[in-house]
Symmetry: C2
Subunit: 221 residues, 2 copies
DNA sequence: GTCTATAGATGGATAGAC
DNA sequence: GTCTATCCATCTATAGAC
């Protein structure tokens, strides 16, 4: 025991460095994948950005694809949990039968609030959106789980609009999801150019209200 | 002249084979890129599918990226032309001031009709959608031109809803574009699973009307 | 214009020393 | 667990024969 007071035990130190390395890799990978695209980022890019060793990706995650999938799994689980929580709360507020507006709020608010300039999950939303089109076979497979999480939203919407054919409700849900999936940085930038700077995505709550207004009108049509 | 009646002149034959090879490459590349993603398709995959020589991509197009860009350029130009034509016709029908519904029809109809099961451009729509998220730097640059083609649609919508702040109109146009961009094969399949088979994208005209209904309601809200 | 062979570069994965 | 060196597969692009 050479430094009993200034240093942790060797085992603890190893565990700490281990966890730190893993977290550094996860953060760097998520960021690079979200910004550059999955196929445009190499393991070398990730480890260089994270300032860790090249071999650490394979050591901690097994492979590049496994790392990608781990990020995907964590973020979609977190997002789905938050959406389900908001839907549950909306149901509680409305005696188990939430309004179309409340359901759409639960669907839109989590990914939109994550997109706020100072939010810790800002980059995660971009990652998730990208995963929908560029994801690996394993990720596309896992998106079936996503369907089961959408089940509750579809059922709630059908209950909220009992006179509408279910098929119609599914299509409108599809349209609403399209509105969300279009919120990539590049699309915001293009819109900013088109509008001559009039659109600012900085006011997330205002954007959320705009989106809910638009989709709600579509559902009540 | 060995076969003057059964064969074209050698020069014509060469030109014909040339044009045929180029067309075969273009078709195979568009298809593979649309289905598998840009980075997941190699020049070898393309030339194998087109049953032409490996070197022909570089001979006819210069590089893999140039081939990709050529497909992108052709298809977006064709799509924008058709949208502009429909918008122009709608303006003519309404004394130069088309309704929100007619404008949305001109925006949605071309890519949706191309998506019909038996349409020659069915795969092109998938290619274009993919280009928006996976495109190269050159393609993203070219999407600025896309902005200028959207100008007319934005202006027409602003004129059709003069009491609405322009910023609001831009956001609603953004939402409407999101509805279109979400029409990837994978998303249709997922919706099909979620709805238990109730949604069939085979009836394109019905889907077009659903989309216009939804977006029009959002614009009139 | 077509085709084969290959140069030249990149990237995922791993062995083995520490 | 970390790190270097390296293997091996894959890919784009091109030279050069036909």
């Amino acid at each position: 025991m050479t430094h009993p007071l200034t240093m942790p035990a060797p085992e603890a130190e190893v565990v700490q460095r281990d966890a730190a390395t893993k977290a550094l890799v996860l953060a760097a990978a998520e960021r690079l994948f979200a910004l550059e695209g999955f196929q445009n980022v190499s393991v070398r890019d990730i480890t260089a950005a994270a300032k860790v060793n090249l071999a650490s990706v394979n050591y901690h995650f097994g492979s590049k694809d496994a790392l990608l999938f781990e990020i995907f799994r964590r973020r979609t689980a977190e997002l789905n949990r938050e959406r389900a929580r908001m839907l549950h709360e909306a149901a509680n507020r409305h005696d188990g039968k939430p309004t179309v507006r409340a359901i759409l709020g639960a669907l839109f608010a989590p990914p939109l609030r994550w997109s706020a300039k100072d939010h810790a999950r800002r980059i995660s939303v971009q990652f998730i959106i990208r995963a929908r089109s560029e994801g690996t076979a394993a990720m596309r497979e896992a998106l079936s789980t996503d369907v089961s999480h959408l089940r509750r939203f579809a059922d709630a919407l059908i209950a909220a609009r009992p006179n509408l054919p279910a098929e119609e409700v599914y299509w409108r849900l599809h349209f609403s999801l399209g509105m969300i999936h279009n919120n990539r940085f590049a699309e915001f930038d293009r819109l900013h150019v088109l509008s001559g700077g009039a659109t600012r995505e900085s006011d997330i709550e205002a954007l959320l209200e705009r989106m809910v207004d638009f989709a709600e009108a579509g559902f009540l049509a």
